[in-house]
C-alpha cells in the first residue's frame, strides 16, 4: 500500500508526547486539543471547546485583528509570543501552522518557554516528564543552577581578595610598632592636605616632633623599654588628634602630625604644650619618669603661596631644631607674617612663637621671641 508522501497522520495523544506544549485552535477560535503540559498550564482540565482568547494573550504577532476566526488564521506561519491569562508572567513562544487546506480546520501551535523557564517550572509545578526529551529545558535549568553556584564561588573569591588587599594596604600604610601611620602614609596625607588647600580648604598645620633623651632610655634600659616609650608616645599623640588629623611615625623617634585647619598659632602652641606635658607624665620606665620629652616644630600652610611638601617639611624641621637649640622640651610655631597671611612668596615663614616646658614641674612657659622675618633665622 502506497502511503501519501506529503502527510503524516498522528493521534493527538502521540502528538502530545512529541510536543507536550502544542495547541490546536479550531477555525472558530475554540481549542480542539492541547498537549499535556499545555493542559496543565491552562489549568481547566479538558481543554476541548475552551475559547483560545479566554486563556491566552498574543504578545507579539505582526498581523492581528481582534480574536475572530479570521485573525486566528492570520497567525499562520509566524513566530508568536503568548502569555497565559491566568499568569501573565509566563511567556510562551513558538510558531503556528495551518490545519487542513488553507487552515480550514484551524491552526496548530507548538510552544515552549523562553528565558522565564525556571519561574514557570516553579509556578506550575512542572517536572521533567512535562518536557519533551528533545527539549533543552533540562539543560537550561541545569545551566542556570550551575551558573549560580559558579558565580557564588567567584563572589566568595572576590570578597576574600578584596579583604586581603585592604589588609595589605593598611599594613603598607601602618607603622608596625606603634600602629600609627608610617612614612609612606604620611607622604600621601601631606600631599592630600596640600591638594585640598588648592581646592579651597582652610589650610592645615604640619608639626614635626622629635623625642628628647630617648636614646638614653634605649641605650641604658634596652630596646624593649624604648619600644614601650614609643608606644606610649603614639598613644599620647593619638589622643590629641581630631577626626581628619593624621599622626605618623616617620623615623626612629620622629613623628609628624598633619592638623586640619582652620587652626590658630595659639591653639598649636597649646597643643604642643599638652603633648609635651603628656609625654613627660606618661613615658615612665618601671614607674619612674623616664626623662623623655619632645621638641616640636610647626609650620602652617597659610605661610605659603603654594605649599610644597618638601619645603614645608624642611621648614618644620628647622623649627624643630630651633626648639632643640633653645633647650629642648618646647614647641616652635612658625606663623605667617602679620598682615601677609596669603599669598606670600617663598620667603614666607616669618615669625616664630615658642613655648617651653619645664620638665621638673610640668608647667609650660610661653616664650614669644620676636624672631627675624626669615626662615634662616628660625
Amino acid at each position: 500500500m502506497a502511503l501519501p508522501q506529503d502527510r503524516i497522520t498522528l493521534p493527538v495523544a502521540v502528538l502530545g508526547q512529541l510536543m507536550p506544549m502544542y495547541l490546536w485552535v479550531g477555525p472558530t477560535g475554540g481549542l480542539c486539543a492541547a498537549g499535556p503540559t499545555m493542559v496543565k498550564l491552562i489549568g481547566r482540565g479538558d481543554p476541548v471547546g475552551l475559547p483560545f482568547a479566554d486563556h491566552f494573550d498574543l504578545r507579539r504577532a505582526r498581523r492581528v485583528r481582534g480574536d475572530s476566526a479570521q485573525s486566528v488564521r492570520d497567525l499562520v506561519g509566524q513566530r508568536l509570543q503568548l502569555t497565559l491569562r491566568r499568569d501573565p508572567a509566563t511567556t510562551l513562544r513558538g510558531i503556528a501552522v495551518p490545519v487542513g487546506a488553507d487552515g480550514a480546520e484551524g491552526i496548530f501551535l507548538n510552544m515552549s518557554f523562553g528565558v522565564g523557564l525556571a519561574d514557570a517550572v516553579r509556578k506550575h509545578h512542572l517536572t521533567d516528564a512535562d518536557f519533551a526529551p528533545s527539549d533543552l529545558a533540562m539543560e537550561l535549568l541545569y545551566l542556570q543552577e550551575a551558573k549560580t553556584a559558579v558565580m557564588g564561588e567567584w563572589q566568595g573569591l572576590n570578597e576574600r581578595l578584596q579583604a586581603a588587599r585592604r589588609a595589605a594596604e593598611a599594613q603598607a600604610m601602618t607603622d608596625a610598632l606603634t600602629g600609627l601611620a608610617n612614612r609612606r602614609a604620611f607622604d600621601f596625607g601631606l600631599q592630600a592636605a596640600i591638594d585640598q588647600v588648592a581646592r579651597g580648604s582652610p589650610g592645615f598645620a604640619l608639626a614635626h616632633l622629635d623625642l628628647d633623651h630617648f636614646k638614653a632610655v634605649n641605650d641604658t634600659l634596652g630596646h624593649a623599654a624604648g619600644d614601650r616609650v614609643l608606644a606610649t608616645v603614639a598613644q599620647v599623640l593619638h589622643e590629641e588628634m581630631r577626626r581628619g588629623d593624621l599622626v605618623a611615625r616617620i623615623g626612629g623617634d620622629e613623628f609628624a602630625l598633619i592638623l586640619r585647619g582652620p587652626i590658630e598659632p595659639d591653639q598649636l602652641l597649646a597643643l604642643g604644650a599638652r603633648i609635651i606635658a603628656g609625654l613627660e607624665e606618661r613615658c615612665r620606665v618601671n614607674g619612674e619618669p623616664s626623662g623623655v620629652s619632645a621638641s616640636l616644630g610647626v609650620v602652617m600652610s597659610q605661610s605659603y603661596a603654594q605649599p610644597d611638601p618638601q619645603r614645608m617639611l624642611a621648614d618644620a624641621d628647622a623649627a624643630l631644631y630651633a626648639s632643640k637649640h633653645q633647650g629642648r622640651s618646647r614647641c616652635t610655631v612658625v606663623t605667617p607674617k602679620v598682615g601677609h597671611c596669603a599669598p606670600i612668596n617663598d620667603t614666607a615663614p616669618c615669625k616664630t612663637t615658642q613655648i617651653a616646658s619645664d620638665a621638673a614641674t610640668g608647667c609650660t612657659l610661653p616664650v614669644v621671641p620676636a624672631a627675624p622675618a626669615s626662615s634662616s633665622a628660625v
Binding site: L143, A149, E153, R160
Partner: protein, 195 residues
Amino acid sequence: MHGLINRSIQIFLCETYGGTLWADVASAAGLGPDGFEAMLHYDDDVTDVVLASASGRLGKPRAALLEDFGAFLVTQEPLRRLLRFGGVDYADFLLSLDELQGRGLMALPDLDLPALGLNVHAGGRFTLTVQGDLPGWGAIATGLLRAMADDYGALATIEPMAPKNGTELLSIELHDARFAVGRRFDLAQPVVGAE
C-alpha cells in the same frame, strides 16, 4: 587540577575527619590554613600530596578514601541537584554520564572532569570507562554512582574492574531501577530563605 575539585576534597576531609586532620594535610602540601581557592588552578602534584598525606594519616587506602569522597559529593545539595538534571531515573542518569564532562564544561569552561564512556550490555549491565588526569577518578565515580543509586532509589551494584591500558573501568549492574523511594528532586530550585 581545578580548585573546585581540590576545594571539594578539602571540605570532604574537614567535614568527615575534622579540621585538625585538614590542618596537618594542608601543611604537608604547603598550603596555607585556608587551603584551596575554588576558582583557581593548582598543580596536580598538590592534589596528589593532599591525598597521599590524608590516606597515610588515616591509614586508609587512597581508593577507599576517594570512594568516600565520591559519595560525599552527592551529599552536597547543589551538586546533587546538578547531577539529578542528568536523568529522570537511574538508568536515564547512567545514559547521561557520557555527557558529564561536557556538562561540567558548560558550567565552567576550564573544569577538568574525566571523560566517561558508558557501554550498555544485556540484562541491565553496563561498563563505564573513566579517563582523567588524576588516577583514582574511577574510585570517585564508584562512590558517586553508588550514592546516586540510593538517591534515585535504584538497586545497583557498582564495582571497580582492573584498568585496561591506563583506562579505569567500572562494572554496573542495575537490578531494580525503582527499588525504593528515592530522594525528592524538584526541578524548581528551592528559594533561598524559604522553608
